[in-house]
């Protein structure tokens, strides 16, 4: 690290790590926020990405999966791209990081800086357009060795409550009505005939009497013909919720850290060791991490400094390998299964069928469970199938610096050369095993996949800096060269027909796949920066970077990225001298151009035959991409204007910024007619704008010797507008989303519900015709779902109007309390999980409680149509839910034991703390995860966790 320190009178002025150096917050020309390590330390956070929500403005996060170790996704200042990546660049200790984010121990983090605008990020050139997250690890401090031991223990449960689903009796009632409605409306039966037919076909559809929990009535008798309702005195012999059987509340999590740090005037060091073991709330899921880190830096002479940071991490994640609507994905099957299905095998009287040891046996449905869940039990599947990912990540950051700021170096004073080398190395060993007794691969005698990948990347740079002051003129100039190389090697093989208990390929008899390949990616860069300030009043900053990326054709490989910025410290002006209540006031402005080369392919411009199509023993290939030599970076023109104010004797700080970020030459899959054999080719054609306003207010309400009470309020807006697509196609429609010129990205585009026909219970929709100019004319209401599908409306997007956080910290003597809440207003979510339990596709799906509002007989006025199974509907806005939410993200209560006691015990300090993460979430629909993703959909995914934890920290 090239630390450029200058004396300053402002005690509270933060020094932050920025691109290739450091800067002071008050005089920084760009936009950057710092999150201190203390904000993360006491929280039960396993993956650092989950600590970012609510800590800074301008950052949108997803909740991330509840699978221990999994990351959350973040976007900085809106959605930078349509087809290319929107992910920010992660930089660890000055070098872009290619390890896994879950391999970083949050306790090792000194601070994180989020670079949001061009002035802050342009030095990351082709990789900086989506913002940069800079993670800086802890360094030793001069002084005696400080030893810190911290342990926490915690217990996790579901953070988001389950959807409200109907009871067994209501389920039977709705199934009956679905059958009856089918006979009436599809097959043209009379109402009475349909009722009789429905009563008679209940048994076939619900699994015969074995699966009838109501042992005092048979399926054909359970509906009272006089009322058409389930008989009220029906008695259920079992009610075994599948989800309850596979989730365990109070999943245990414990974490232990040991840190040694210290140093002399010349050499400083920090060692840390960490161990984490976190059970997931889903049976069989777990994450363990072992990590060690050593950060050493030494000043050999007054002109020679060296540093080396090394970290080694080994982690194992046990997870469930299924996703989406796979039967074996319990978040699909168990969460929405018929409540009639028992977990354990039942006899005809509804009693458990016991094995020879007298234990109940899991029901795999082999005795005739209806529908498609053949030979499947969710608990059995979770226990018998196995999946893990083992990651070994090694990171090295090393370098040395020559030169000095001392006067006796003459003309060389202030000139420094530093050479840095950073390397990330990762091997991943993954296994997916499907068991040989039940389910997917029982036929095949079990199936095992093994994956092995090796990733190695390095960054090598040489940087020259010159830092001098002449009177009131202060200069800091930097020039450098960097080379980045990335190599990824993939190997996978699978075999079936295995030996029980041996989770290896060797004993398997049949190879079902074997594959390997290697990817390479390289960037060469030249860059420079010029910083100047006059009297620490007027700051000017300019940077430039030229990158050549292997992703592009040699004629379009090199791109230039730059920024200029200024900062005016108004409070330093003479006319402000008398304004005592202003401690600091600065105004800043920056503009620049950044790039995004992450097109999700390393070979974007080439036309290629994919050789993964062997036909028997003949080599086979298919064309996968069209050549476009001109494909190149996305460019992002990024303007930022803002002010920072520190007022009232440092008790009030206000900062606000406005940004306008225009992505041009946006990478699009340039649409082609599908009939050409391609839906498009990679091309730089579109434009999109993200703009927004961000503010942060921190106030100290009480500050006495014993009491301290701070409140922080942050808010951000983001407006997104697609400015230009292609001439051929000013709109890209994909399912329920439209990307259209003049509208926000991923605008919901679907039919609009218009209530329910009281006569038939059919779903009604708004429909329209179009005149010759394409304008909507003649709107009317119809039950014709095909017409509704042709009459779609633009119905908003996931993008919130305002989001942010409110946090507070309160301390009294040695007790401290902090609360972090987050909020998001506006935006919509299409909850397909909700839709899936309101427009059921299968007889064995359960219904959401809202389905009880359904139309039942002619004359009923309601918003839920008649019950149908696998009915035909136009996807409509009934399932478009307001995305606003309020969440209590974290509450931490700590107590630092009195110093007097410590001195007696010869300890430095002891702090005990308790914390709860994701305590509560308030949304418009119970069960829905409002932060599943950025486009506003939901999926059958591992629900996020709430974690209670307790811990202590000892320093000596």
């Amino acid at each position: 690290m090239k630390v450029v320190m200058r004396s300053d009178t402002e005690v509270l002025d933060e020094v932050m790590v920025v691109a290739y150096g450091t800067a002071k917050k008050s005089s920084f020309t760009g936009s950057a926020s710092v999150i201190g390590g203390d904000k993360i330390e006491s929280r039960p956070i396993t993956n650092v990405t989950k600590a970012l929500e609510g800590q800074t403005t301008g950052v949108l996060t997803t909740s991330g999966s509840g699978q221990p170790g999994e990351s959350a996704s973040i976007v900085i200042r809106g959605y930078g791209s349509i087809n290319a990546s929107q992910d920010p660049l992660y930089v660890v200790d000055g070098v872009p990081y290619d390890g896994t984010l879950s391999s970083i121990n949050p306790s090792d983090i000194e601070s994180m800086t989020i670079l949001k605008d061009a002035s802050a990020g342009a030095l990351y050139g082709a990789r900086g357009a989506n913002g940069v997250v800079m993670i800086t690890t802890k360094q030793g401090k001069e002084g005696k060795t400080n030893v810190t031991w911290r342990s926490t223990a915690g217990w996790s449960s579901r953070a988001i409550p389950e959807y409200d689903m109907v009871s067994q009796k209501d389920f039977v009632q709705l199934t009956y009505e679905a059958l009856r409605n089918g006979y009436v409306f599809t097959n043209g039966y009379s109402w009475a005939d349909a009722e009789a037919a429905a009563r008679n076909s209940l048994s076939t559809n619900l699994g015969g009497e074995l699966y009838n929990p109501f042992k005092n009535y048979t399926w054909s008798q359970i509906i009272d013909p006089t009322t058409g309702q389930v008989r009220s005195d029906a008695q259920s012999a079992w009610n075994e919720n599948w989800m309850d059987a596979i989730l365990h509340n109070n999943a245990f999590r414990h974490e232990h850290q040991l840190q040694l740090s210290g140093g002399t005037e010349k050499t400083r060091y920090m060692f840390s060791l960490g161990y984490l073991n976190e059970d997931g709330i889903l049976t069989g899921t777990n994450f363990q991490r072992y990590n060690g880190r050593a950060n050493i830096n030494s000043e050999v002479t007054d002109w020679f400094k060296g540093n080396m940071n090394v970290s080694l991490t080994h982690s194992i994640m046990n997870y469930s390998q299924y996703d989406g609507a796979a039967t074996s994905n319990v978040w699909y099957s168990a969460q929405f299964i018929s409540p009639l299905f028992p977990m354990y095998m039942k006899d005809m009287d509804g009693n458990n069928v016991l094995d020879e040891n007298g234990n109940p046996q899991l029901d795999y449905g082999e005795q005739g469970r209806p529908g498609s869940y053949n030979d499947y039990n969710p608990l059995g599947g979770l226990v018998d199938d196995k999946s893990y990912v083992k990651n070994d990540v090694a990171s090295l950051r090393t370098g040395f610096t020559l030169g000095s700021d001392k006067d006796d170096f003459g003309v060389f004073k202030g000139l420094k050369l530093s050479v840095n080398f950073g390397m990330d190395y990762r091997t991943m060993n993954q296994m997916n095993y499907m068991n040989m007794y039940h389910g997917n691969q029982a036929n095949a005698g079990g199936l095992i996949y093994k994956y092995n990948t090796r990733m190695q990347s390095y960054t090598f740079n040489q940087i020259l800096t010159w830092d001098r002051s002449f009177g009131l003129h202060n200069f800091n100039v930097m020039a450098g060269h960097e080379f980045y190389a990335y190599q990824y090697e993939y190997l996978n093989a699978a075999k079936s027909n295995l030996v029980d208990g041996i989770l290896e390929l060797r004993p398997g008899t049949t190879i079902t796949s074997a594959d390997s390949y290697t990817d390479k990616y390289r960037i060469e860069s030249w860059f420079g920066r010029f910083n100047y300030n006059f009297d620490e009043k007027y700051y000017f900053d300019a940077s430039i970077r030229r990158d050549g990326s292997s992703r592009f054709h040699k004629d379009h490989r090199w791109g230039t990225f730059w920024s200029v910025g200024g900062n005016w410290r108004v409070s330093k002006e003479a006319f402000m001298e008398d304004v005592k209540w202003v401690d600091n006031l600065s105004v800043k402005l920056s503009y620049g151009q950044q790039g995004n080369d992450n097109l999700r392919t390393y070979y974007a411009w080439q036309s290629l035959y994919d050789l993964g199509w062997p036909n028997g023993s003949n080599i086979g290939g298919m064309v996968t991409s069209l050549e476009n030599q001109e494909v190149s970076w996305e460019k992002s023109g990024n303007m930022n204007v803002g002010f920072e104010a520190l007022l009232l004797d440092h008790r009030l700080s206000i900062s606000a910024e406005y940004y306008n970020k225009k992505t041009t030459d946006m990478l699009l899959n340039y649409p082609m007619a599908t009939s050409t054999g391609f839906n498009g080719y990679n091309a730089n054609v579109g434009d999109m704008r993200n703009s927004g306003f961000e503010f942060e207010v921190r106030g100290t309400l009480i500050k006495t010797n014993d009491w301290n009470w701070d409140i922080t309020w942050m808010g951000s807006t983001v407006k997104n507008k697609v400015l230009k697509l292609t001439n051929e196609s000013p709109e890209i429609i994909n399912g329920i989303y439209s990307i259209k010129e003049g509208m926000p990205i991923n605008t919901f585009y679907m039919a609009k519900a218009a209530g329910v026909d009281p006569a038939t219970g059919a779903q009604l929709y708004w429909a329209y015709d179009k005149d010759e100019n394409g304008n909507i004319v003649n709107e009317y209401i119809t039950s014709d779902y095909n017409k509704a599908n042709e009459s779609k409306y633009y119905l908003g997007s996931r993008i919130p109007d305002l989001y942010g956080s409110i946090g507070t910290s309160l301390s009294w003597k040695d007790i401290d309390l902090s609360i972090l809440t987050t909020y998001s207003l506006g935006g919509k979510i299409f909850d397909s999980l909700y839709q899936g339990s309101m427009e059921n596709m299968y007889f064995n799906n359960n219904w959401n409680e809202h389905a009880l509002r359904r139309w039942q007989k002619p004359g009923d006025i309601t918003d839920v149509p008649r019950i149908e199974i696998a009915g035909s509907y136009a996807t409509n806005d009934r399932f478009l839910v307001d995305a606003s939410y309020f969440a209590i993200k974290n509450i931490t209560l700590g107590y630092t034991l009195p110093k007097v006691w410590m001195q007696k015990a010869r300890l430095g300090s002891i702090r005990v703390f308790a914390s709860v993460d994701n305590l509560a979430l308030f949304t418009h629909l119970k069960g829905m995860d409002p932060q599943y993703n950025f486009s506003g959909s939901t999926d059958y995914a591992y629900s996020p966790n709430k974690t209670w934890s307790f811990g202590f920290e000892v320093n000596f």
Partner: protein
């Protein structure tokens, strides 16, 4: 000390200049792909793109969320069968093919996870891959027989693909020659290739007939197939026969079918021998895919939907129409062993149709089973039908007997004439109906019943008595009207998104059954 600094400084600056790397280090290329220009240079390496196309005819590669009902030729044949009257889906099971069966896919054209996109994309992918090969016709080096082998197959693939597109995206050829069909491309696609407007049915069939004729010519001067997936002269004749049958070009259908039989050297085999339909090496198979165990597609495969040993087929059983089995198939027909009326596994009990056992994995523990795409029995039945239509009833019966002598002991028929009922249940007792009946039984699950119904311009009515479940009866739909658009798929949204010459409001097929 400072001198050391100076020298080190200067030295390091020099080193820095050296690390500035050569531009060549920024040249990278993938290890799982290669460029087309080298592949198409000679007839030997040009087999690579050809084999790629064939692999995609039995691999599963549709966009995720749809791949379990998209695995090339067999998936479309199965789709076209469950759309008809003879193959009953007992229940929706996991939902695959069910929406084809109940005609609930056309309105889903905006999604890439449904049939409209799947079929359109699949055939056009084959066409574009074939067009690259055809573009190299003049420049490809190698012995002329070897070049013919490659180019002839590419023509055949293009003909086959356009033929299948025409069968799915327009009403049948006869009587609808001037209806809009699909866009035509005969040049290789490059970045920026402009989308073409819909050609007429006639224009598409003109290309199809000329392509298949070229294929026949080239392949007649080329070696026989070196792999069962490859289209050689016999298979090209077979495809020509199918096309001619659909176009009602009876003379061509007759000669092409006879040529196919002769060129293939295949022989009709007994029903019991071919039961399972999973062995492409049998002597009746003209075209098929012998699938090796690391190239199977697991659940996303034909047999997973047919063989009740596997979950999909178990929960969505494929059964034969009981009317066809009980009343139309002769009691002594050996093909009765392809279905099992005694199977009681259906949840619908006696209401169900009869469970199929015609198709099964050869070894379900490793998902093994070859696909059969064309067998010689079909050619005899095609020739018989064509001859019947030409009034050559004796010849027709000869060809019919070539199959039936292996199916029903002592089979003969005195039927005569070409009359067909308005729907498949309206019986006329004609010879043509007899030939079609045998075709329904023989090719059940293989050919795609709806494509026959379309070209015969026959409607159908599903009934509970036939064994159809209530949810798939389609009572309120015009399945008895062959002029309706129920059988004509919608064109996917992605086509309109990328095609300046096609407009959704003007060029989309009717989304409803009629409009």
């Amino acid at each position: 000390m400072k001198k050391i600094l100076k020298y080190t400084f200067a030295g390091l600056m020099g080193c820095t200049a050296l690390t500035s790397c050569l531009d060549s280090s920024l040249e990278t290329s993938p290890t799982d792909s290669m460029s087309g220009t080298t592949l198409l240079a000679n007839a030997n390496s040009a087999l690579i793109p050809l084999n790629g196309i064939y692999r995609s005819m039995y691999a599963s590669w549709s966009p995720a969320a749809n791949e379990h009902q998209s695995f090339g030729i067999n998936s479309y044949a199965l789709m076209a069968d469950v759309m008809g009257d003879d193959m009953i889906m007992d229940a929706m099971g996991s939902g695959w093919f069910w929406y084809d069966c109940i005609y609930n896919v056309k309105s889903r054209y905006t999604s890439t996870a449904w049939r409209s996109y799947d079929i359109w994309n699949c055939y056009y992918t084959w066409i574009s891959n074939a067009n690259y090969i055809l573009a190299a016709e003049e420049t490809m080096s190698g012995a002329s027989a070897d070049v013919n082998y490659v180019i002839g197959q590419a023509y055949a693939i293009r003909a086959y693909s356009y033929f299948m597109l025409a069968q799915n995206f327009a009403r049948t050829y006869k009587g609808h020659e001037s209806d809009p069909c699909c866009p035509i491309y005969t040049e290789p696609t490059v970045a920026g290739t402009e989308g073409q407007p819909r050609s007429t049915v006639q224009q598409v069939y003109d290309l199809v007939t000329s392509d298949i004729q070229k294929a026949v010519e080239k392949l007649s001067a080329a070696p026989a197939q070196t792999h069962k997936t490859h289209i050689d002269a016999s298979v090209a004749y077979g495809i020509q026969a199918r096309i001619a049958l659909t176009m009602e070009d009876w003379n061509l259908a007759k000669t092409a079918a006879h040529n196919a039989i002769e060129a293939s050297g295949c022989t009709v085999l007994p029903a019991e021998t071919i039961k399972g339909l999973n062995d492409a090496t049998l002597s009746n198979v003209m075209w098929g895919a012998p699938i090796q165990n690391d190239q199977t597609s697991g659940y996303a495969s034909f047999f997973a939907h047919m063989d009740p040993n596997v979950a999909y087929a178990n929960s969505a059983r494929k059964q034969i129409n009981k009317d066809l089995y009980d009343n139309i198939m002769l009691p002594t027909d050996e093909r009765k062993c392809w279905w099992d009326p005694t199977d009681t596994n259906s949840e619908r009990g006696a209401e169900a149709g009869y469970q199929q056992v015609k198709f099964s994995f050869s070894d379900y523990t490793v998902w093994m089973g070859d696909y059969v795409w064309m067998r010689v029995e079909e050619m005899y039945l095609t020739a018989a039908e064509a001859e019947c239509m030409l009034g050559e009833e004796d010849a027709a019966k000869q060809d019919l007997y070539a199959v039936m002598s292996q199916r029903v002991e002592g089979y003969s028929t005195t039927k005569t004439g070409t009359a067909l009922g308005k729907t498949s249940s309206d019986r006329t007792g004609s010879l043509r109906e007899e030939i079609i009946d045998q075709r329904r039984i023989e090719l059940w699950g293989e050919y795609g019943r709806i494509w026959d119904l379309r070209r015969l311009r026959q409607g159908f009515r599903r009934t509970a008595a036939q064994g159809w479940p209530a949810a798939a009866l389609l009572n309120n739909r015009p399945t008895d009207d062959p002029e309706c658009y129920m059988w004509v798929l919608t064109i996917p949204q992605t086509e309109f998104d990328g095609n300046v010459n096609m407009d959704l409001s003007q060029d989309q097929n009717p989304i409803d059954d009629y409009k």
